[in-house]
């Protein structure tokens, strides 16, 4: 994924997550508050409507009780007139115990006899004997609203004995007016009343959305349609979101009116109740879209401003990486990337210089290698030369030696003392030359020999060398002091030669001492072992220390100490071959110490 894409995603995430979060919380809170408001509104309307209905019927009850206790028709005439105008009373009538109408007063258009003749009204009259009774609502073409109710009440004489029944027929218009008042219910809201009959609930008032089906519209109890009226009619009180008689989702509240056995419902379509929420939702989505769009533009431009110089730098790096060290990224930006670009350009410049010097170095190394190889070849040649020279010198020398000896044997008696002395000088020099040649050969042999190292107990080698040397020394008092000798991985034969040469030297240079002390020891320092051989012999002047290990280098005269001057050169060569070093310390007449190191 490119840096640009990453930046865009990060920026969008940072910008949008809080906005979406806040929006959702706000939206949720607002929804809750709207819901609360709507439900309270519905509950309030339900309570108000129920109270008013009850109040209406309580008044009616009081009126009919007054009528039942009244004496004389004049009072009833006045009451009728009063109630006809105030509550649309259709009729008042009084029936005696035998069912005979003793008083009747109708509104101008009403025919009371029809009322009485109907079977249903007989039942109401019967019920009225026991107390105030409200009939069910029934269809009545003579009524203004088309629906009426009958209220009946008993008439008692002075001895509290039933003497007849008083009946009111009221037009439902005032109640329907009350119920159908949709103030505060918007476009779709309404209040309604219903009553349970068997397992059904019948709607008792003209419905806002279905005004022609009063007393005909019904719902089954337990069904999902018209749930609020089912609840109300079965004596419950509550509120919630349900489907109304049309099957439309509504916000509703409901309660039961026990005196009438009616349920009251106030409801409004969910769609309308939460129209604000829907609008808010649309607004929020619109705002979010705008924010996303703007954030997107900002993110892209920000990412562009960050990634473009990086891209430029990357391209520059690739160009430089492909070998064009003259390329410059070149930017005048003041930020970190600008600084980076300039540092990068500087680095490229430095790299160019380094590359140039590296090339020089490479050339130098190549030349050096060449020189080294030439040197090696030269060295080899020199060694071969040394070998063949010393080898070829042996034969003539042997001849000189051999024939001079023969001469001495055969003509000894013909020489005088001086002749014999001179002859001995010849012999001594032949011997010395032989030694020189042998040592030279040994040195050149070492140069060509491959060493084979194994971990060896140097103490054992040292003891065997000392024993060999002791057997050659007669009449000398030598104190060998052997200290700690660390182990090392060495070539057994060569390291033995080292000890032989160093100890021979030590013995040689202590030869004038009566009590020669030769101390041998070593210790481990880091990754190497250091050994020393210390004597109390003639020592040497430290200013010639560097000459000690050179070939044919001698610090003493031949007459003082014999030797070829090759022994230490051999030691140095062997130790160097093992990857170690040799050095020496000493003082004239105070002994010498020879050191060598070996890798552990």
């Amino acid at each position: 994924m490119s840096i640009r894409l990453k930046l865009i995603i990060i920026f969008l995430a940072i910008a949008l997550i809080p906005i979406i979060f806040v929006s959702m919380i706000t939206f949720h809170n607002y929804t809750n508050s709207i819901e609360d408001t709507r439900f309270s509104q519905m509950r309030y309307l339900t309570v108000i409507k129920a109270e008013r209905i009850e109040a209406y019927f309580n008044n009616l009850k009081a009126d009919i009780e007054i009528a039942a206790n009244s004496k004389g028709t004049e009072f009833l005439d006045n009451l009728f007139k009063q109630l006809e105008s105030s509550i649309n009373l259709n009729a008042i009538m009084i029936i005696d115990k035998k069912g005979k109408i003793t008083y009747e007063k109708n509104s101008h258009s009403h025919r009371i006899d029809l009322l009485v003749s109907e079977e249903i009204h007989k039942k109401e009259l019967e019920a009225g004997k026991k107390g105030v009774h409200f009939s069910d609502i029934y269809s009545d073409n003579n009524s203004t609203s088309g629906f009426s109710m009958m209220i009946t009440a008993p008439i008692l004489d002075s001895r509290k004995v039933l003497s007849g029944v008083v009946a009111f027929e009221v037009d439902m218009a005032p109640i329907y007016k009350l119920i159908q008042d949709v103030t505060g219910l918007g476009e779709t809201g309404e209040t309604l009343i219903g009553k349970k009959f068997g397992n059904e609930v019948i709607y008792l008032n003209p419905l806002r959305n279905d005004p022609q089906t009063t007393l005909k519209k019904r719902v089954t109890i337990g069904g999902s349609v018209g749930r609020p009226i089912q609840e109300a009619s079965t004596g419950k009180k509550g509120f919630g979101e349900y489907f109304d008689y049309r099957g439309v989702k509504v916000i509703a509240a409901w309660q039961y009116i026990p005196s009438l056995d009616w349920g009251v419902v106030a409801k409004i379509d969910y769609r309308e109740a939460f129209a604000d929420i829907e609008n808010l939702k649309k607004l929020v989505i619109l705002i979010l879209c705008i924010v996303i769009f703007l954030s997107g533009i900002m993110a892209i431009s920000l990412a562009q401003s960050v990634s473009a110089p990086i891209k430029k730098l990357t391209e520059g790096a690739e160009i430089i990486g492909s070998g064009n060290l003259d390329y410059k990224v070149g930017t005048c930006m003041k930020d970190e990337i600008g600084t980076l670009s300039r540092s990068f350009d500087k680095m490229t410049g430095d790299l160019k210089k380094i590359t140039a010097s590296r090339d020089e170095l490479d050339t130098e190394i190549t030349e050096r290698k060449k020189a080294e190889e030439e040197l090696k070849a030269l060295n080899k040649e020199l060694e071969a030369f040394t070998y063949s020279v010393s080898h070829d010198l042996r034969s003539p020398l042997r001849a000189i030696d051999g024939f001079s000896k023969i001469l001495m044997e055969e003509y000894n008696d013909k020489l005088n003392d001086e002749g014999r002395r001179q002859f001995n000088i010849i012999s001594a020099n032949i011997k010395r030359m032989g030694e020189l040649i042998d040592d030279l050969l040994e040195l050149s042999r070492l140069g060509r020999k491959e060493i084979t190292c194994s971990s060896i107990n140097l103490k054992d080698i040292l003891f065997s060398v000392i024993n060999e040397l002791k057997s050659n020394i007669i009449k000398r008092n030598i104190d060998f002091q052997i200290k700690e000798i660390p182990e090392a991985a060495v070539d057994r034969v060569l390291i033995k030669q080292v000890f032989i040469n160093l100890l021979t030297n030590a013995l040689k240079f202590t030869s004038h001492k009566n009590n020669a002390i030769i101390e041998i020891g070593g210790n481990v320092e880091g990754n190497k072992a250091i050994y020393y051989i210390k004597d109390n012999g003639v020592g040497f002047d430290m200013q010639y220390a560097h000459k000690l290990f050179g070939i044919f280098q001698r610090l003493h005269g031949q007459e003082e100490f014999e030797g070829t001057g090759i022994g230490l050169a051999i030691v140095k060569r062997i130790i160097n071959k093992h990857g170690g070093e040799v050095w020496a310390q000493g003082k004239v007449n105070e002994g010498a110490t020879f050191y060598f190191s070996l890798p552990k």
Partner: protein, 147 residues
């Protein structure tokens, strides 16, 4: 004990001085009575296998061969190889007597089946001592399969 024409020592040596010194040392021990001295490898091979100048020579083999390595015409190692690869000559003890002290020569000689390898000392006394010891050992002490 030995017949007159029985060769006891074959000395192959190109350096006349070394040869003379060796012969002198052997003579002192009475070991050089039946000694043949040849100066190069080719001659040595001709002698041993009765060919060239020695064609028709009666086949009698030396008891020991003292062989130098640096030889004109045919090299000492080549001579050694021929001797040791021929059924008739392979049982003759060959002692390499040379100035060479090189490891390579020593190893190669032993690979080819040399019986002894000796480096010539420079000093005559030692040389003389060594040659006479060699002669005594190989001719008197050492037992070889009979001819």
């Amino acid at each position: 004990m030995t017949s007159l024409n029985e060769i006891e020592i074959l000395l192959v040596e190109d350096n006349p001085n070394d040869a003379e010194l060796a012969i002198r040392s052997l003579k002192k021990q009475n070991l050089a009575n039946n000694l043949v001295w040849l100066k190069d490898g080719a001659e040595a091979l001709d002698f041993l296998f009765s060919q060239g100048n020695y064609a028709g020579r009666v086949d009698n083999k030396p008891k020991i061969i003292l062989l130098d390595l640096r030889l004109p015409k045919v090299d000492g190692l080549e001579v050694l190889k021929k001797i040791k690869s021929d059924e008739k000559t392979k049982t003759i003890p060959v002692i390499v007597l040379t100035s060479s002290n090189q490891d390579r020569d020593i190893v190669e000689s032993y690979k080819l089946g040399v019986n002894s390898y000796v480096s010539k000392p420079v000093e005559f006394d030692e040389f003389a001592k060594m040659v006479s010891q060699l002669g005594l050992y190989w001719l008197v002490v050492n037992k070889t399969p009979g001819v």
